[in-house]
């Protein structure tokens, strides 16, 4: 009989913080820009340079710790992690080992069996590495330090998760908390949130954990789920064959759906951590903690309750809208500009979600502004444009965030409100379609729809279909 195995998973999640500047120097953290354009002597490891801590990094790290029920370390230090690699200009990374900023926290996730706590072992602050680009032409590697020194927090969970579903739920939860704090946009694809999976298997009921491996290079929830399944199967196969699992770091290749060990005899995995003498310790006062606690934003649960009380929109809409901080902000800002909550919600739940799905985008990628959405809603409400035109305009606005009023004006999409012109077209349609007129008069209500359609076509869509309907009925009386 086949044995049953339990999967034991812990996560190391790196999150790029949304600071304007790097963790130890005044270089911009903005994406893009030509290689090495966001660098200075400090973040490229020039001799003689020294790091100075960005105040905002500490603030974000403590805020995330507070929101994940952590103990905040009142006296924390930075340590150097020493290893040679070209993406790391000093050949040591400034991180925290001995006294990380946060410890002993947890978040709650919803699982099939109900609410579950996933423990957070620690959160520490550290610097990101540069980017290595393989040059096929000359078969060498090129180094760009634009990302070198971008601030990160690493959130290390306890080994509390047992399935890919729990892992995804945990990541979703972390992402929401961090997005709500504004501490990061947490985009997996772009690497502003990265998860390394520590996984082991053991026979169901066993006390001891099995030997774990660490899986890197997971760029999407899908990849994470697949990697977990793949690694679980690989380890079980090994055990079934009577072989041992080797403790190692493996790299997931999502296109091949397989992983391989990242090993080299030149890597000793002995990081020789010691307190960085160039940075002073950080001491956290009661006042500082109170201040940050006071500044914690409304999180999702509170927001959902408030929406329920304040806005007349369905629970399902509330669930989706608050599922993204960016979408919730957009919703509130549009409502604040006078749009009716239900109409705003309809645009978000309908066309917005449809386009996001079609274009494989994340709610965080929504680019149109609340002001423009409010204008569009106002135009449909005043019947300046009809709903078909509105959808067309919205699609363009979704991509380009242009001013819909100006766009409608320029493209001449306004509903024709000139009674005379409309009446003339309707008369022409009636004259050209005697059969339909006949049918309608004989009680075939449906025939009016065809006549409306013909009129709209003749008006090139720029009419209010309800008005056309009314006019037809009146004229065919």
């Amino acid at each position: 009989m086949a044995k049953e195995y339990e999967t034991v998973i812990g996560l190391e999640v790196h999150v790029e913080l949304a600071t304007r500047t790097k963790i130890f120097c005044g270089c911009s953290t903005a994406f893009g820009g030509r290689p090495n354009s966001h660098t200075c002597p400090v973040c490229t490891g020039m001799p003689g340079t020294l790091p100075v801590l960005n105040r905002k990094v500490l603030e974000y790290a403590v805020s995330v710790g507070l929101a994940t029920n952590c103990d905040i370390t009142r006296y924390c230090k930075f340590d150097r992690k020493n290893y040679f690699y070209p993406d790391n200009p000093q050949n040591y990374q400034i991180s925290q080992l001995y006294l990380p900023i946060c410890r002993n926290g947890y978040v709650e996730i919803e699982t099939a069996e109900g609410t579950k706590k996933v423990g957070i072992h620690e959160i520490h602050m550290e610097e990101d590495a540069g980017k290595l680009i393989h040059d096929e032409w000359e078969d060498c590697t090129l180094v760009d330090y634009n990302r070198s020194g971008v601030p990160l927090i690493e959130i290390v969970s306890e080994s509390d998760m047992r399935s890919a579903e729990e892992v995804i739920a945990y990541l979703e939860k972390l992402r929401l908390i961090i997005q709500y704090l504004g501490a990061s946009d947490c985009k997996l694809q772009e690497g502003s949130m990265r998860a390394d999976v520590n996984l082991s298997v053991r026979e169901a009921g066993a006390e001891q954990f099995g030997t774990r491996t660490e899986m890197k290079n997971l760029n999407s929830f899908r990849a994470i789920a697949r990697a977990i399944e793949g690694e679980r199967a690989r380890q079980i196969d090994l055990l079934e064959e009577g072989k041992a699992v080797v403790q190692e770091t493996r790299r997931w290749d999502d296109t091949k759906e397989t992983s391989y060990a990242m090993r080299s005899k030149e890597d000793a995995q002995d990081y020789r951590y010691f307190p960085d003498p160039d940075l002073t310790p950080v001491s956290i006062s009661d006042e500082y903690l109170e201040e940050l606690k006071g500044r914690q934003p409304e999180f999702r649960t509170e927001k959902m309750a408030r929406y329920k009380a304040e806005y007349d929109i369905p629970d399902y809409d509330i669930e989706i809208i608050t599922g993204s901080k960016h979408m919730a902000d957009l919703f509130e800002a549009t409502v604040a500009r006078g749009s009716q909550p239900k109409r705003v919600s309809n645009w978000l739940m309908g066309e917005t979600l449809r386009l996001l799905k079609e274009k494989e985008l994340d709610p965080e990628d929504i680019r149109f502004s609340p002001g423009n959405l409010a204008k569009l809603i106002a135009m449909t409400e005043s019947k300046a444009i009809n709903s078909t035109v509105a959808k067309e305009v919205f699609e363009v606005m979704f991509m380009e965030d242009m001013d819909p009023e100006q766009y409608v004006e320029e493209k001449g999409l306004k509903t024709v409100t000139d009674e005379g012109a409309l009446r003339k077209t309707v008369e022409e349609v009636i004259a050209a379609n005697p059969q339909s007129v006949e049918d309608y008069r004989n009680g075939k209500e449906k025939a009016i729809g065809f006549l409306v359609g013909q009129t709209m076509k003749a008006m090139r869509g720029k009419a209010d279909p309800a008005g056309v309907n009314r006019m037809l009925k009146e004229m065919l009386k």
Partner: protein, 97 residues
């Protein structure tokens, strides 16, 4: 000499420090490291229980900079001393990933 430094240790430290020693240098390194460690072992004469390790002599703490961009595009300067560069990047031998 109390501290005998093995070939393996020298090899291992060489990997950590990215130093490649010749046979002669290795022997010299074994000898001098052993001597230094013997000497450092003198610290064990002292009872340091209850003494906090002191990494900073002065209790200076909470030194921060504000989150304001102060640096412009300095890529030209960044690459000025590069032994090898291409397309505004540093060139290194191929890394394995």
């Amino acid at each position: 000499m109390a501290n005998i430094i093995s070939d393996e240790t020298i090899e291992y430290v060489g990997i950590l420090a990215k130093l490649e020693l010749s046979g002669e240098e290795k022997e010299a390194a074994k000898k001098s490291m052993g001597e230094m460690l013997d000497y450092i072992d003198k610290l064990n004469e002292l009872d340091t229980s209850g003494v906090e390790p002191m990494s900073h002599v002065f209790p200076v703490q909470n030194v921060f900079r504000e989150d304001e961009v102060t640096n412009g595009d300095e890529s030209g300067r960044t690459l000025q001393n590069a032994p090898s560069e291409k397309d505004n990047m540093f060139v290194v031998p191929k890394t394995f990933d």
